[in-house]
């Protein structure tokens, strides 16, 4: 009976998750491209050998990790401060809560186009500003060393509200008598943040982190619109490389190989994060016992 009730959700998981995973794993051991007339021909581990020797793939992988780690770290720090601010009682809080969500509500392509114009050299406002204060033109989207920072900036701007929302929900589950008890013992607000808020927020931080990390690792639309992977391939992500292989080069076998490999990497990354959070945010049990 229980199994029967589980069936719909299991079926959904199989269809949207397991089937594509199997199909792509299978495809990664086949040549299926414009050269084979889009017919899958088994070619053993040729795709995987090609992947391991493909400098461009490793470059894209490194860049994707860099993007994910830097942008998610910034996002979590910012989101925590925003969530703490929005959790306090003050006039206009509700209005600000709504406004804070706007970046997240915008479609990514729209906001990426917006950033592309903001960062445009020489006609965008940022360029005007840097010229005004005497730095001169930075040519942000045309410099390999700066363009990836622009992608991070746009991503942080867009997805911080999402992380803040999760953390805010977490903050509201913390009972206020915990804080009161601590205050009675003469602790200041910094130590209540360290000793109550952060430990009890742990599952929510983990949730936000995993969500954001998985999303950031698969970043595609933002980069496709903002930089197209350039300049000199300096912002290309793994997902973009897989997409280009499938839709531009019509090489589906190799594209599947890239996707499966990045799936394996993201699983590892999430495991590491989970482990780190567990170690970093362990609640001080002795203290919790004392308050209760």
């Amino acid at each position: 009976m229980i199994f029967l009730l589980l069936l719909p959700s299991l079926l959904l998981l199989v269809v949207v998750f397991l089937l594509p995973l199997f199909r792509y794993s299978w495809l990664s051991f086949h040549a299926d491209s414009v050269v084979t007339g889009l017919i899958a021909i088994p070619n053993g581990v040729a795709n995987w050998v090609r992947l391991s020797l493909d400098q461009r793939y490793w470059q894209a992988l490194g860049q994707t990790f860099r993007f994910a780690v830097v942008s998610v770290s910034f996002e979590l720090i910012l989101a925590l401060s925003i969530a703490l601010l929005l959790d306090q009682r003050w006039r206009g809080r509700n209005a600000l809560r709504a406004i804070a969500l706007i970046p997240w509500a915008l479609p990514t392509t729209v906001m990426a186009l917006g950033w592309r114009w903001i960062l445009n050299t020489p006609y965008g406002p940022i360029d005007r500003l840097t010229n005004l204060i005497g730095i001169g033109s930075l040519n942000i989207l045309g410099e390999p060393g700066l363009a990836w920072l622009a992608t991070v900036l746009a991503d942080v701007w867009k997805t911080t509200p999402f992380a803040a929302l999760i953390l805010l929900a977490g903050l509201q589950t913390i009972p206020s008598d915990l804080y009161e008890a601590l205050r009675l013992e003469g602790a200041n607000s910094l130590s209540s943040l360290r000793r109550i808020t952060l430990p009890l927020l742990r599952p929510y931080v983990l949730l936000a982190l995993l969500f954001r990390l998985a999303q950031a690792f698969g970043v595609f639309d933002l980069i496709q619109v903002l930089t197209g992977g350039g300049p000199a391939g300096s912002t290309e992500s793994v997902a973009l490389y897989a997409y280009i292989n499938a839709l531009r080069f019509l090489d589906f076998g190799y594209s599947a190989t890239i996707i499966i490999s990045s799936f394996i990497f993201i699983c590892f990354a999430c495991l590491i994060c989970w482990f780190l959070i567990k170690v970093l945010f362990t609640p001080q049990r002795s203290f919790l016992k004392k308050v209760s």
Partner: protein, 423 residues
């Protein structure tokens, strides 16, 4: 009670109307052949009148509808391919960029058209428009508009446009020195297909070649290939082009030239109409010529768009009829006069009325004679992609032209090898 009656009556009459519509449509549908083409947005807009005219002339027989695709060429390609790989595409025909054809033909997505267009039809095309329509001796594509890279220059700043790469730099520098313009030359330096087009014109202009399809020879790391890359790099290094050109596509270059900030621009023929609009700072001060090159090597990248019929369409005859209408002399004249699209038929370039009305057509005809195709292979997208990456690296001074071109050559070889293994 009254209300219910009114409600009932209106429901009944609504139903009656619906039944009428359905029966009329069914009756019509049995006779009318509905065909649809997917066009990039600018072409969908430009052909709207023509499509209406075609539907008037074929009322009761053929109903042509044009699906408006995205603006950008690459977005258009992605959309078309994603519908094609799912099986039967929801359209009968596709307006196709010249570089897509080998890929589409190799996958069997397009229908051979040689039984519909004979040698006389082919001979009516201008020589430059005959290229890029066939793959492995089958005709798949009929050109709607010819398109080629042009050098735009300012008639108010100089008497004669430059002919050679050195002249372009020296004229630019003297204009910049006298504060006549901010920049000498704006072009497409972003890492995308436009950069390959710019480069093809320069490598051919220095007497080299990019890729020979017949014997898979790569010319990128030879003298002319390196020279072309160095020349483009020197434009930025010497301040003739803005640093930001490394992120310029057509639109950004046009913006700068249209505002009067630059003396030269590389762009396609569509830019002409944009530059003649009322709010353009350079209206009436613009000339068009072929790209600078060593004497005798001037080259224009072929960027033509042509109509194809997808295999699996059950309305091939009707689709061909629509293609013939859209590419007729009259239609081409209209597209040229109203929207600035370059014709493909030789007769239009010789038309005395047009030569007088729009003298730019003689320059376009001259450029069409020196068009060169980009490598015609199903692997073109890969080959162009590695070139774009290396060129972008050279322009942002991440690497030297020599090294970049050696990398591009090696990467191209690798693509050919891994494709050969799969064959």
């Amino acid at each position: 009670m009254r209300r219910i009656i009114i409600l009932k009556r209106s429901l009944v009459s609504l139903l009656a109307i619906l039944v009428c519509i359905v029966t009329v449509n069914l009756a019509e549908a049995s006779e009318i052949e509905s065909i649809s083409f997917l066009f990039p947005a600018p072409y969908a807009e430009a052909t709207r009148d023509l499509v209406q005219q075609f539907n008037r002339e074929n009322r009761g027989k053929i109903k042509l509808s044009v699906i408006r695709g995205p603006f950008a060429t690459e977005a258009m390609s992605d959309l078309a391919i994603s519908s094609l790989i799912l099986g039967k595409a929801p359209f009968d025909g596709l307006l196709m960029d010249v570089t897509w054809l080998p890929k589409y033909a190799a996958t069997g997505w397009v229908e051979p058209l040689e039984s519909y267009f004979d040698q006389d039809d082919v001979n009516s095309l201008a020589v430059g428009a005959r290229e890029g329509n066939s793959y492995e001796n089958h005709l798949y594509r009929w050109p709607l508009v010819a398109d080629m890279g042009l050098l735009y220059w300012r008639t108010d700043l100089m008497k004669e446009p430059p002919k050679t790469p050195e002249e372009l730099i020296s004229i630019s520098k003297s204009l910049q020195k006298n504060n006549m313009v901010d920049w000498g030359y704006v072009w497409q330096g972003r890492q995308y297909e436009g950069l390959s087009c710019v480069y093809l014109e320069m490598i051919e202009g220095f007497g080299g070649y990019w890729f020979k399809t017949n014997d898979n020879k790569i010319g990128l790391d030879q003298a002319a290939g390196v020279e072309a890359a160095s020349w483009l790099q020197s434009l930025i290094k010497e301040g003739v082009s803005p640093q930001a050109v490394t992120n310029f596509a057509e639109q950004e270059a046009l913006q700068s030239f249209r505002a009067g900030d630059s003396a030269f621009m590389r762009n396609w023929p569509y830019a002409w109409a944009e530059l003649q609009q009322a709010d353009s700072s350079v209206r009436g001060k613009v000339g068009v010529t072929t790209m600078v090159a060593n004497p005798g090597y001037s080259t224009a990248t072929n960027g033509s768009w042509g109509l194809t019929v997808l295999s699996g369409s059950s309305h091939i005859d009707a689709a061909v009829k629509a293609i013939r209408f859209l590419t007729s002399d009259e239609s081409q004249k209209q597209l040229f006069l109203k929207y600035g699209y370059t014709p493909t038929k030789q007769s239009i370039f010789d038309d005395p009325f047009l030569l007088k009305e729009a003298p730019i057509i003689s320059e376009l005809g001259r450029a069409l004679k020196v068009t060169k195709p980009r490598p015609e292979t199903p692997l073109y997208a890969q080959i162009s992609d590695v070139l774009q990456r290396q060129l972008s690296g050279i322009l942002t001074v991440e690497q030297t032209p020599g090294n970049g071109m050696i990398h591009a050559t090696r990467n191209t070889e690798q693509i050919l090898i891994s494709a050969g293994e799969q064959r």
